[in-house]
Symmetry: C2
Subunit: 152 residues, 2 copies
């Protein structure tokens, strides 16, 4: 990260199909329950027995915890746009639960690059950001729209 | 919440256009920076001066913090589906930043109700979940797909 500035990407630098990866993140049981207590206090995120009886058939992380961890992995990974990772929004889905003890990582691929018509100094990059567990199963797919500057 | 059980909603109980509200949540500066340090360590979420120079023109919460707070407001609000709030995914957008000191609340409206063809005991509710600040400006719009059980 120390010389990260030299690798900052502008809209002009990227191409459709380009891929990015991240490091890994260990989903800790205690932190998973704390996050759920603060932001998603539902029984299947907090209580083992209740979770076994639920649709998740076992304790599951809040989807928003998976989303937050995904952001961390991207910010610290090799997807380094000039101006930062500025998400306007996107489509998110959680095809399967994240479990305590999972090791998550992110793989991203550029789907579309759209220079702005009204603002010649920026554009939109559409990116599929897939969060995978240690069995390479997707736990989240976020198709994001990011605001990316052009080279001056 | 004590007698929440009596108000649990099944697919059969809700209709398109039905609306739900939440309590409020105060965005605390310290907690906002802590969340960003843990999950979205970018300068415009952490450092006032850097944030002033950024597209946000001032310190902004991570969008995922807004999303997590929105979940809390819904879980503790009057949107009480049987089986819990189980999101399969949806479209999320952040039309403007959340700031420290903001007071957030949620308004939700049912857009569509689709009984499952293959699983007669459940269906999908499509819901527009709008997170508003104290000026009634939307800071997040999440059009979610929730899994909701039918009455046995």
């Amino acid at each position: 990260m120390a010389d990260g500035k030299s690798k900052l990407l502008y809209l002009d630098d990227v191409s459709v199909g380009q891929r990015f990866t991240s490091g890994t993140y260990h989903m800790d049981l205690k932190r998973m329950k704390e996050f759920a207590e603060e932001f998603d206090p539902q029984r299947f995120h907090l209580d083992d027995d209740a979770a076994q009886q639920s649709i998740f058939r076992g304790l599951a992380a809040s989807g928003w915890h998976t989303a937050a961890v995904t952001m961390r992995l991207n910010v610290l990974g090799d997807l380094q746009f000039a101006g930062g990772l500025i998400g306007l929004g996107g489509e998110i889905e959680w095809p399967r639960p994240t479990r305590a003890g999972d090791t998550l990582r992110v793989e991203s691929e550029i789907l579309e690059i759209t220079p702005s018509r009204s603002k010649p100094n920026q554009g939109i990059v559409r990116l599929r950001i897939t969060t995978l567990n240690q069995r390479n199963e997707p736990v989240q797919v976020f198709t994001a729209k990011l605001l990316v500057p052009r080279r001056a």
